[in-house]
Structures are given as structure tokens and as C-alpha cells.
């Protein structure tokens, strides 16, 4: 009788704990109704004219290239006060494209990106430093495969100007090197290099003109 009581209590506790965790996560996910009033220096990433590319060594003899086809984000940039700038980039891991359907499928699996569990790759800047004429060092939190680490991009301000609809445009070209093992992506390090070069091209449109 006593043992049965313990078993029943254990099961009820497990069910209650599971339900509590489930409900809690639901409530946490409720979107906050944050009012956003874009300023003069706020831009939205133009997905059509932006790209996220990478290269990684294959068998130590060559580089294999790939890209992500789905990119979004926003940035704040004032050429007169670049240190006040910021950028948030979000990439859908599912959109990886290496020009091989079989390889893309494998890259999406838990062996590498595990896109079902970690659907997004993000970069959120924490500091911007001027590093030369039109050159900046953008440091931020890079989240890949569920792991967040600081990464610094060397970014070139390619240019600013007006778009066809009169809105302001600005563009950047950024490079960084990461180690995939730092992000717990350790499968097949002997065949595919640990170091991955990232090359991001951004074109952004003034936020209220988008």
C-alpha cells in the first residue's frame, strides 16, 4: 500500500512538473508588444541584396563554400558616431545551401547544425570600434548551434546613398573566422576543418522606408 502510494505520487509529480515546464515556456514565449519607432539612423537588412557566405577546409586540401539563403535583421549606423551603432542579424539555419542536396541534408542533421533544434543563427553586436578609414571592428554575441560566444567581425563600410525610392541605403562587408568546435559542432573534424571563415555582405534600407 505504502509502495503503491509512492509510485502514484512519483508519477503525479513527474506529470505536474512536465506540465509546469510546458506552461511556463508558453507564457515566456508570448511576444512583448514593444513599440518601435525607427530613427533616422535605423536600417532594415535588405534580404535580397545581402548574403551570408562561409568557407571551410575539406580534407585539408581545398575550401568548400556555402551560403545561407534566408537572412534578416536591423542595424543602426551613424557615420559621425559609429561607436553608437549596432547590428542584429538573424539567419535561418535551414536555408543552408552548398550546391549539393545530399550534403545540405547532412549539414542540417544533428551531425552539424541540427536545424530542427537550433533553427536560427544570430549575431547581436555589443560594441563597434573604428579601425581605419571606413573600417570597423564589430564585436558581438554570435549564437550558433545553441552556443553563444563573442565574435569580432572586421567590417568595411562599403558606402551609403539613396535608393530608387528615395530612402537611404548603406552597405557593409564583414569578415570573421570562428572555430566550429567552440560551438559544439565537432563532427568529422578530421575531414572538415575546424576553422570556418564567414563573409557577410549587408545592404540595409532606412527602416521607415522599408
Amino acid at each position: 500500500m505504502f509502495t503503491r502510494s509512492i509510485i502514484v505520487k512519483t508519477i503525479l509529480t513527474l506529470c505536474a512538473a512536465s506540465s509546469a515546464v510546458f506552461c511556463l515556456s508558453k507564457s515566456e514565449l508570448a511576444p512583448a508588444a514593444a513599440a518601435f519607432a525607427p530613427g533616422e539612423n535605423d536600417y532594415t537588412v535588405d534580404a535580397v541584396h545581402s548574403s551570408v557566405n562561409f568557407r571551410v577546409k575539406h580534407m585539408g586540401v581545398s575550401y568548400s563554400y556555402g551560403r545561407f539563403n534566408s537572412i534578416s535583421g536591423s542595424l543602426t549606423f551613424d557615420e559621425k558616431a559609429p561607436e553608437k551603432g549596432s547590428i542584429l542579424i538573424e539567419v535561418k539555419a535551414e536555408s543552408i545551401d552548398t550546391n549539393s542536396e545530399g550534403r545540405d541534408k547532412h549539414l542540417k542533421s544533428p551531425d552539424f547544425f541540427n536545424v530542427k533544434q537550433f533553427p536560427t543563427i544570430t549575431f547581436k553586436s555589443t560594441s563597434v570600434k573604428k579601425a581605419g578609414e571606413k573600417m570597423y571592428e564589430v564585436t558581438g554575441d554570435f549564437t550558433l548551434h545553441g552556443v553563444t560566444k563573442p565574435v569580432t567581425f572586421k567590417a568595411e563600410h562599403v558606402g551609403s546613398g539613396k535608393g530608387r525610392d528615395g530612402g537611404r541605403l548603406c552597405g557593409f562587408d564583414a569578415l570573421a573566422r570562428i572555430k566550429r568546435s567552440d560551438f559544439d559542432m565537432k563532427y568529422s573534424l578530421s575531414a572538415l576543418g575546424d576553422e570556418v571563415d564567414l563573409h557577410i555582405g549587408i545592404e540595409a534600407v532606412q527602416a521607415d522606408k522599408k
Binding site: I7, L14, F22, H106, P110, D111, G146
Partner: protein, 290 residues
């Protein structure tokens, strides 16, 4: 290649074999298994997992497997030590296995943002279906594995794990396949030790770790790795079908004690048929390959 084989197969096999041998003490006459089977499979798997994956605790769903193995070992020992009357024991085992199946399915499915953040109803239905199927596989196969002596239960379990590892490898989940291979290596020594034990080697609780890892690996491959649904169902059905064939055929033949050799062959064929169907349902690879 050799390194992978050593860490992924030989190491878990050796550790598991040592624990199995210690538990059944084959050098003594009339060896009787103790509550070490679940521990043997768990330790073999955990060492294999750490050796393959490097000692890190990540948030990746695959990184949960060694923790599931620890859970399985603890559960196996608890299951072995529960003392009830037969009726109460059976009810307690059903309740515990059902609760654990739900808990494990929840732990895995909760890591899927698309499912977790979607409709609650879809999540709950998926959870219930996954947990109940997992429970059915575990309960049916374990029940028969625990009642059959000799090397056959160990061989069947090894066949299921090794065959499923091959199928998961073909579905493009190499890491998961390698880890299921470590699980197969962990259970393989029980087939050899089975020759030395007169009582059923996979006694009460011994199969807990195996089925927790086996069912979890298939669930992960299904929801995270694009393993086709029906392939997962056939892989899940393989161990149950292999063991269920014994009593079904013996009842049909009117036998009650001995297990004729043809029933072993029938069990082997039923597992092979299930795994063959699972393999056949995999999408065909590209002509150019990858």
C-alpha cells in the same frame, strides 16, 4: 577509421563485457545473473559516447543520451529490486515504464522549437503517440527477453541496435548511428555471456538501459534527422517482433518448455524483415552521391 572502431565499438564492448562477466561469474557453476545487466549496457554506452563525442555537455539533443543511459541504469536496478507479489509487480512495471516513456519523449520533443512553440494539442498528441509506441516496444521486447535464457536475447538486441545503426547511418545521421553502434557493442557481450548462464541473462530490469537508448535514438533520428516515419515504426517494431515470435509460435505448436531452434530462426527473420522494411523505406540517395 580504426580510431572510430576502437572508441565506438571495442571500448564499450570491453567495459560491458567486464561488468557482465563480473555479474554472472561464468567461472562458477550454475551462474545466475545479478542486477548488473542494465549497468553493463549503460557503462559501455556512456564510455563509448564520451570517447566518440569528447567530454562535453552540450545542449544538443544527442548530448542527452548518456544522461538517459544513467537514468536507464538506475531504473533497471530499481526494477530489479522491487519486491511485489506478481500481480502488483506487473502493474508497477507497466506504470513505471509508461511514466518513463512519457518523460523521455517529453525531454526529446521539448527541444523542438517548432513543436514546442506550436499548437499545444499537436505537441500533446505527438508526445502521447511517441511515448505509447516507445512503451509498447520496450514492454513487449523486455518481457520476452527477460524470460528466455541463453545467447538469443543478447543476439537479438545486438541485431536490432546494429541494424538500426546502419539504417540511421543511411538516413544521413552518422553521429547518431555511431552512438547506436556503441549501444550495440555494449549489449553484444550479453550474447556471449548467455552461453554460461542457465537462468535468463536479461533478467528483470536488465533491458531498461538498452530500450531507453534504442527508443531515444530512433525518436531523435525521426524528429531531428529526417528519418522517415515508417522506417522509425519498423525499427521500433523490430525488437518486439523478434521476441514476440517465441510465445506466439510456441502456443501455436502447443509446446511449453523448450524453444525449438526454428523459433529462433523465425525470431531472427522477423527482426531482419522489420529492419529490411525500414531500410527499403529510406529515400533513395542522389545519383551523384555525397
Amino acid at each position: 577509421m580504426w580510431e572510430q572502431l576502437i572508441w565506438g565499438a571495442l571500448l564499450p564492448g570491453a567495459i560491458s563485457a567486464a561488468i557482465w562477466a563480473y555479474c554472472i561469474k561464468p567461472w562458477k557453476r550454475d551462474a545466475v545473473p545479478r542486477a548488473g545487466g542494465s549497468l553493463a549496457i549503460a557503462m559501455g554506452y556512456i564510455f563509448g559516447h564520451v570517447a566518440i563525442e569528447a567530454p562535453y555537455v552540450g545542449g544538443d539533443v544527442v548530448a542527452w543520451l548518456p544522461f538517459f543511459a544513467v537514468f536507464g541504469a538506475a531504473l533497471g536496478i530499481i526494477e530489479f529490486t522491487i519486491e511485489f507479489t506478481m500481480a502488483k509487480h506487473a502493474a508497477a512495471i507497466i506504470i513505471i515504464k509508461l511514466a518513463v516513456s512519457f518523460l523521455l519523449a517529453f525531454a526529446i520533443l521539448y527541444l523542438l522549437p517548432a513543436l514546442r512553440d506550436g499548437e499545444s494539442g499537436v505537441f500533446l498528441i505527438t508526445l502521447a503517440a511517441t511515448a505509447i509506441l516507445s512503451f509498447m516496444v520496450w514492454f513487449a521486447a523486455a518481457r520476452f527477453a527477460e524470460s528466455v535464457s541463453g545467447p538469443i536475447p543478447g543476439f537479438y538486441l545486438w541485431l536490432c541496435a546494429a541494424g538500426s545503426a546502419g539504417i540511421i547511418l543511411q538516413s544521413g545521421n552518422a553521429k547518431l548511428a555511431q552512438l547506436l553502434g556503441a549501444c550495440a557493442a555494449g549489449v553484444a557481450p550479453s550474447a556471449i555471456c548467455g552461453f554460461f548462464s542457465k537462468a535468463p541473462l536479461h533478467s528483470r530490469g536488465s533491458t531498461a538501459t538498452f530500450f531507453i537508448i534504442y527508443n531515444s535514438a530512433i525518436t531523435i533520428a525521426l524528429f531531428f534527422g529526417d528519418l522517415p516515419k515508417m522506417s522509425a515504426v519498423f525499427m521500433g517494431a523490430a525488437p518486439a517482433a523478434g521476441f514476440v515470435i517465441f510465445p506466439v509460435m510456441l502456443k501455436y505448436r502447443g509446446a511449453s518448455h523448450a524453444h525449438p531452434r526454428w523459433t529462433y530462426a523465425a525470431g531472427f527473420l522477423s527482426i531482419a524483415a522489420m529492419l529490411g522494411a525500414a531500410y527499403a523505406l529510406l529515400p533513395k540517395s542522389e545519383p551523384t552521391g555525397y
